[in-house]
């Protein structure tokens, strides 16, 4: 009988520390808010893509964002053969530009950026609370960090590369530490780790913006394939008005 009461007390205690739906949503919103810039954004990125047993391939790119208008652009700068290639997102359209052909192609959110295992969303501002509904799964420890664990399901009608996510969020900073992405059939597709974050003062937000400095992505379908995104430098100053157009991207290589 005594054991029974101990179990009941333990369950009550556990329930006491469980996050409510509102608290869960608030944390996910905080995760977004910390990364939200509300203005223009430029970053210098490197992408290192390694397929098992093969030599790695590296790219350098500039990522431009105008978060207020939901505009986004990646312009590859290195290596030489990829320089001038780009992605331009306007509204729900993700366009890919090939300077060698002068051709624009409409792509989906599942597009592998530059043929790597990265997706457009890895470079864009966080919109978890807009795109997903979160459920608190419990607490977990990741290395030295105490983390909340959540399961997120994509909202109806929102085009996301993976419909189900599991997130580990640092309790102290509210930054993401780990992210697992699942297909509709609940198959694990990618696991991403966010070991480094940097902060930058945003003139438009008038406070600090947190930016994942390094994302290490592990392909769960093709074991041994990895992608590392390194955001080397960030500039949050205003960009020219006419930048997020096809004409601007084309003008860089013609």
């Amino acid at each position: 009988m005594n054991h029974f009461f101990v179990v009941i007390l333990f369950l009550m205690a556990a329930n006491l520390y469980a996050l409510t739906e509102a608290e869960t949503s608030a944390i996910i919103k905080t995760v977004d808010d910390l990364q939200r810039n509300s203005g223009d954004y430029t970053s210098l990125c490197y992408i290192k893509d390694t397929e098992k047993g093969k030599e790695p391939r590296l790219n350098q790119a500039l990522v431009y964002r105008r978060d207020t208008d939901n505009k986004f652009m990646i312009l590859f700068t290195k290596p030489k053969e990829d320089a001038g290639k780009g992605y331009l997102k306007i509204d729900k359209n993700l366009w890919n530009y090939e300077p060698s052909t002068g051709k624009w192609d409409r792509k989906t959110e599942r597009e592998r950026i530059g043929g790597t295992n990265s997706r457009r969303g890895d470079f864009d501002e966080s919109k978890l609370s807009e795109e997903f509904t979160a459920v608190y799964d419990g607490d977990e420890k990741l290395g030295d960090y105490d983390a909340y664990k959540f399961t997120l399901a994509g909202k109806n009608g929102v085009d996301v590369p993976y419909p189900v996510l599991k997130l580990w969020v640092d309790k102290a900073s509210k930054n993401i530490l780990k992210r697992e992405e699942y297909s509709l059939s609940k198959k694990l597709m990618r696991t991403s780790f966010y070991p480094k974050w940097m902060k930058k003062f945003s003139p438009s937000k008038k406070s600090d913006v947190w930016i994942p400095e390094e994302i290490r992505i592990f392909d769960e379908l093709e074991k041994g394939n990895t992608t590392i995104i390194l955001i080397k430098e960030v500039d949050l100053n205003t960009l020219p008005e006419n930048m997020f157009t096809k004409a601007w991207v084309e003008s860089k290589s013609k």
Binding site: T42, L44, Y46, K48, E55, R57, L58, Q60, L62, T77, K78, P79, K80, E81, A83, G84, I90, K92, N93, E98, P99, S100, T101, G102, W104, D105, R106, R112, G115, T116, L142, G143, D144, Y145, N156, G157, L177, P195, K196, W197, M198, K200, I211, E213, E214, R216, I228, L230, I231, K232, E233, V234, D235, P240, T245, K246, A247, S251, K252, S253
Partner: protein, 691 residues
């Protein structure tokens, strides 16, 4: 002599037994000869199709290949991962010098590309943008394009809500947004200042309106990189159908004619072509064919793909012509076209001719036309995407089996473009990779060490970024593209580079096995690191079909003659029982066991030779009459196995001799047991039993 006479007498006196055994032997010999002739003809047909079109007699590829090589691709249809061989010229020079039986070596390498021309609105908006951007202010052209775009927009709402929205779920909120965007695009005010604000207007239409059109225009192009002139010279089945081959040293493509007509062509037009072929060549009727009726239904439901491609001015002209042709007063082109495409056996040919003379010239009849340059994108096995603008110089076919889908996948591309699209890490790229790796300065951490707390959080600096931003804003990457021109490559350029596999054509294909051994030995000696396989293995599962068909045939022959043994044996035992008294009497008057055995042996021999010859004679008649005219290929795939539209059979006396020998052996086996039993009949018991 007496034994032979007695054997003959026995055959005539036991007519039922002779008839049964004879029928079995005639049928067995007939089917064996015809079957062997048919299977070997198919086998030769396939060999001819493959070795004279794509595989050559032998194929060589890297010893480091991860996958088993098959020129038709693996079970997923993709080109197998066979690594690559460093330098074609080196391999070619050494093999041609060391192996005397080599006639020619053709370098190859396969992959597939995507061509995404976009939907009709994407296409027209891009044309319009180019007109403004390149400052080709051809007012008439711009006006025509604007009118065309406007006409397409007017038609989108019905299409989107009737077709697209029924396939993908659209929320009420999104539906309202779509309607609002369409209202904006249709409004007069939108078009009033179009020229002044063309960039913004076109981007609005590209991003808000064009995605509403269901787009399934993506073309997947399997291609084979090679030196086009060497390919054409080496493979006797190669024949240009439209345009020309890729000129020597130029970049370009030649598509297979079947691919061009069945994949690249406007889908309404190609359905009409197929209906015509079924009616005229296969003598089908629309009334009697569900398949043809389905094609007509599809054409009617996709008539938008015709009228959306017509400019408003052309549409008006075609309305007038259609009204006259159909004797109709209908003025709506959609309804007129739907009515026009409702073809039947009586009106098909006249409507087909009208379509090609009055409508086809004004629509995009081919997604890519011969003579045009089109952009292709491929994904290398390293995961990277590569794109090129490539000119289509013409179409070709493999002469004897041009209708076979098996031959569709080998669209040819020049070797230089193939190498560019293959995406091999060049020394320059490797150097750039090392530089970028140094700039990244990544720490090599394990997952468990990733989350150790440290004071690494920092404000980022911006020296490299501002420098790069400034470069991009001022000059961009124009220098990188300045050097790319339409260069003509020398033979040395083409041969001094990688290839994935190569076809080897032999002077004397009969010495294939010896040549393979010689190539292996040269590869070993010169450390070429290549392996060689014959055409059957190179053709993968298709090559193995020959073996499968042969096994089937020989199994069939085995079963036929196996059953024959029992039937013949049974007939002989019955005959022996009937002749119990006779054999007993012969034994009683002094006939030895040897005599009885010989008599029965000759009986079997005469019988088997005679009836097997009759069966062979019958098969000869059938092969000469039917096989001489040729067995028609019943479908497009059969043309590949027949190496043409008909399979011609040739009577081979060696096959006949083999079957005759087999019939004798089968009869001898079947007669063995009854003969043995006959020799055991004791004279006394035989007489006793009778009396």
């Amino acid at each position: 002599m007496i034994i032979i006479k007695m054997a003959l007498r026995n055959l005539f006196s036991h007519k039922m037994k002779t008839l049964i055994v004879g029928t079995v032997l005639i049928l067995g010999s007939f089917f064996a000869v015809v079957g062997v002739t048919f299977v070997f003809a198919i086998s030769e047909g396939m060999k001819n199709s493959l070795t004279h079109s794509i595989t050559g007699d032998l194929q060589i590829y890297s010893k480091l290949a991860k996958d088993k090589f098959s020129i038709f691709g693996d079970e997923n249809g993709s080109y197998p991962d066979i690594d690559y061989v460093e330098n074609f010229a080196t391999i070619k020079n050494i093999l041609e010098k060391e192996v005397s039986n080599i006639e020619a070596i053709v370098p190859m390498g396969g992959n597939f590309a995507m061509v995404n021309p976009g939907n009709i609105l994407d296409k027209k908006l891009e044309e319009l943008r180019q007109c403004f951007k390149e400052k080709i202010f051809d007012a008439a052209k711009i006006l025509e394009l604007k009118e065309h775009v406007h006409a397409i927009i007017l038609d989108i709402e019905a299409q989107f809500f009737n077709n697209t929205a029924s396939i993908v779920s659209v929320s009420a909120e999104d539906s309202a947004k779509v309607r609002a965007d369409l209202d904006t695009a249709r409004a007069e005010s939108f078009w009033k200042d179009f020229d002044a604000k063309f960039e913004r207007k076109i981007e609005f239409l590209s991003n808000k309106i064009a995605p509403l059109i269901f787009d399934d225009n993506v073309l997947y192009v399997s291609y084979m990189g090679t030196i086009p002139e060497t390919f054409a010279r080496s493979f006797s089945q190669f024949e240009i159908v439209k345009g020309t081959n890729i000129p020597p040293g130029h970049r370009g493509m030649v598509l297979t004619d079947r691919f061009y007509e069945e994949e690249v062509k406007h889908r309404v037009a190609r359905r009409l072509d197929k209906i015509k072929r079924s009616l005229l060549e296969d003598h089908e009727t629309i009334k009697g064919s569900k398949t043809l009726q389905d094609k007509i239904t599809s054409n009617i439901s996709q008539s938008a793909e015709v009228y959306n491609q017509l400019t408003p001015k052309r549409a008006e002209e075609i309305v007038v012509k259609l009204q006259a042709f159909l004797s109709s007063k209908e003025s709506d082109i959609k309804k007129l076209l739907e009515d026009f495409l409702k073809v039947d056996d009586a009106n098909f040919i006249s409507r087909y001719d009208f379509f090609y003379s009055e409508i086809a010239p004004y629509i995009v009849l081919y997604k890519v036309k011969v003579g045009e340059v089109f952009p292709i994108t491929t994904f290398s096995k390293y995961g990277t995407s590569h794109s090129l603008n490539i000119k289509v110089y013409g179409t070709y076919r493999f002469k004897s089996f041009e209708r076979s889908p098996i031959a569709t996948g080998f669209n040819l591309i020049d070797l230089m473009s193939f190498r560019d699209l293959f995406g091999l890490l060049t020394p320059e790229r490797k150097k750039e990779n090392s530089e970028m790796e140094a700039e990244m300065a990544l720490e090599d951490v394990s997952i468990s060490d990733m989350f150790k707390k440290s004071d690494s959080k920092k404000e980022s600096e911006g020296a490299s970024l501002s420098k790069l931003k400034s470069t991009v804003f001022t000059s961009g990457f124009k220098e990188d593209f300045a050097s790319q021109g339409d260069k003509v490559f020398s033979n040395a350029d083409l041969e001094n580079g990688i290839f994935l596999n190569a076809a080897i054509l032999l002077k004397n294909p009969a010495k294939m096995a010896a040549t393979m051994r010689a190539i292996d030995s040269v590869s070993e000696k010169e450390k070429l690191n290549i392996q060689v396989i014959d055409w059957k293995n190179a053709a993968g599962i298709i090559g193995q079909l020959i073996l499968f068909i042969r096994v089937l045939l020989f199994s069939f022959i085995g079963i036929v003659f196996g059953v024959s043994i029992f039937i013949i044996m049974n007939a002989f035992i019955m005959a022996m029982l009937e002749r119990y008294k006779e054999i007993g009497t012969m034994r009683a008057i002094g006939a030895q066991k040897q005599f009885v055995l010989s008599m029965l042996f000759f009986e079997v021999l005469i019988q088997s030779v005679f009836f097997a010859c009759l069966g062979i004679l019958l098969s000869w008649l059938v092969i000469v009459i039917v096989g001489g005219r040729g067995i028609p290929a019943w479908n497009d795939i059969a043309t590949f196995f027949f190496s043409g539209s008909r399979l011609y059979l040739f009577f081979d006396w060696w096959y006949a001799a083999g079957v005759l020998l087999l019939a004798v052996i089968v009869s001898a086996i079947a007669g063995l047991y009854p003969a043995y039993q006959a020799t055991k009949i004791p004279p006394v018991s035989a007489l006793g039993k009778t009396h």
